[in-house]
Amino acid sequence: MTETFILIPGRTSKQGTTLNEGKYTEGYQTEINTLKMNPDDMERLGIAEGEDVRMWNEYGSVVVPCSTGKDELPPGLLFISYGDKSSQLMPGETHGSGMPDSKGLDVQIQKISNN
């Protein structure tokens, strides 16, 4: 089953600390490659903690493990730390501002095992 969500890439303190340790450390890579989702959405879609999902839009497609965002995220909203994965879903168009749409991206989500 495929469902549309809104993705908010952003900063976290863990991303900040592990960035200083190095972009090639396990801590940094785990942080920028993990998708956070509302726990009710995860249950409804049958996604277990740590399970891979495919996330895509018209600009790119990525596979990331999904983790519960606990009470931080309302239903329908996703979060991922800024990094390579979030950039792959970013459009090149900036609408004359110099800034690509980098937050509030419409994305599709699908469980890998359902493919």
Binding site: I6, I8, G10, R11, T12, S13, G16, T17, T18, L19, N20, E21, G22, K23, Y24, Y59, G60, D71, E72, L73, P74, L77, F79, Y82, G83, D84, S87, Q88, M90, P91, G92, E93, T94, H95, G96, S97, G98, M99, P100, D101, S102, K103, G104
Partner: protein, 448 residues
């Protein structure tokens, strides 16, 4: 401030204390950090937050070649020569980055771009660039962080999560500290968060306006209407998700404040609307001055991104997204900003200073960056350094290199380095590249 060396039992690693060192990880630029330095390791960073400690503890000297050309180790001299050659041969070079280096180095980067007639842009364009455009559109009612500390009794954090991104903003400047006109500190202040997520900042504030995604502009416009006494209907709640009664209560508090501040982050600038969102927030702060004192400040990210805005502005008249190819500066976000220039496949060479656009840009921009001759200056290995034609390993500003940086409120602050690096600073490398470029340009002129 003092720097003192003390003998220890391990004589090969004398202990050094650097008082009032400056942290350049985020835009708070805290300049009250007391460092304990053993050889080329910082072992204590008193007063630093979790991000500051990670910054100071992880910038020890790494064993890397001083430069790489086509991925092969090279000397600084060889790399400087090749970099100058690439920039001189380019028809449309672009300079980008600059938010994690000193103002002194930024100034040389501007000069190089001017000499070669290139595009000049900084990480501001993908950070608070839209706010920079909004400042030109509606102005900025501003203040220093010291005024926030001593006066602000009503704080609105909008589209940002300072609890994670700027941890000491709360304790040093805005939410917690006792100030001259807020003697009870936190108890004298009301704090509001405007955010789609219930972040760690939500736990630190009194009121969380958890708006629907992509409705920042509408929320700011509704508050502007309420500030002017205009009656609103239920469509505001339908669009923003915030009950009108709650908005009216917040506006009542805003009008009763003695000194209010909106501190806005990239939730405002990176979401659809961008500079229009920033304009709405800045206009709201401006309008509130009909009732009481209000300001609006962008929460700036990298340690010297505010310095980049200042240096580029005082050099060219504009803060980012500038083209110098006609011999005079032209400012046009969307045309001369790096995401666009690279995304459209226009630049044929790039000078990247202390930044990693190959990790952070859109795929079309990344694809083009990989296809052209790129020169990178960075203390650490990055994806951009890996694809660069010429990559310089540099000393880290603030830890190895002295100089000047600007705090997020445009206050210049000196750096007090902890230990020497075997690598050269951005300033030294850029100055050498500029020297080579001028030498060849003048030789060409003299040769007729």
């Amino acid at each position: 401030m003092s720097i003192a060396e003390q003998p220890t039992n391990e004589t090969e690693n004398p202990l050094k204390i650097v008082e009032d060192a400056t942290c350049t990880f985020c835009g708070c630029v805290c300049d009250d950090i007391n460092l304990t330095v053993e050889g080329d390791q910082i072992t204590k960073a008193q007063n630093a937050c979790v991000l500051g400690k990670a910054w100071f503890f992880n910038h020890h000297i790494e064993e890397r070649p001083e430069a790489l050309i086509d991925g092969q180790p090279a000397t600084y001299e060889q790399a400087i020569d090749r970099a100058a050659e690439i920039l001189l041969e380019s028809q449309y070079p672009i300079t980008y980055g600059l938010s994690d280096t000193t103002c002194e180095a930024q100034r040389v980067a501007v000069a190089i771009t001017d000499w070669i007639g290139g595009c000049l842009d900084t990480t501001t364009s993908v950070c608070h660039g839209p706010s920079g455009m909004a400042f030109q559109g509606v102005g900025e009612v501003t203040c220093s962080l010291g005024e926030l500390k001593n006066r602000a009794d009503y704080l609105i954090y909008w589209g940002g999560n300072p609890a994670e991104s700027h941890p000491r903003h709360f304790t040093k400047y805005s939410l917690m500290p006792k100030g001259e006109f807020v003697p009870k500190g936190r108890k004298d202040r009301t704090a509001v968060l405007v955010d789609v997520r219930k972040t760690k900042t939500a736990k630190a504030v009194d009121i969380h306006l958890q708006l629907k995604p992509r409705s920042d502009f509408e929320l700011a416009w509704a508050l502007r209407a309420l500030a002017k006494g205009i009656e609103l209907d239920d469509s505001v709640e339908e669009k923003t998700g915030i009950p009108l009664e709650q908005l009216k209560e917040v506006m009542d508090g805003m009008k009763k404040a003695k000194f209010g501040a909106i501190l806005f982050g990239m939730g405002v600038t990176m979401t659809r609307g961008k500079h229009i969102n920033s304009e709405a927030v800045l206009a709201l702060a401006r309008d509130m001055n009909e009732h009481t004192r209000w300001v609006a400040k962008p929460m700036r990210g990298h340690g010297n991104v505010t310095g980049a805005d200042n240096v580029v502005s005082w050099s060219t008249g504009y803060p980012f997204g500038i083209h110098l190819g006609r011999g005079y500066p032209r400012f046009n976000p969307g045309e001369f900003t790096s995401s666009d220039v690279l995304g459209r496949g226009e630049a044929d060479a790039a000078l990247i200073i202390a930044s990693d656009p190959y990790s952070n840009f859109s795929q079309p921009a990344r694809d083009h960056l990989k296809a052209i001759n790129t020169i990178v200056l960075d203390p650490k290995l990055s994806e951009t350094a890996k694809i660069a034609k010429v990559a310089f390993t540099t000393a880290t500003y603030g830890i190895n290199v002295p100089g000047t940086v600007y705090r997020m409120d445009d206050i210049p602050i000196p750096l007090r380095p902890a230990f020497d690096s075997p690598y050269r600073s951005d300033y030294e490398i850029l100055k050498a590249i500029e020297g080579k470029i001028r030498e060849r340009q003048l030789a060409a002129v003299n040769a007729g």
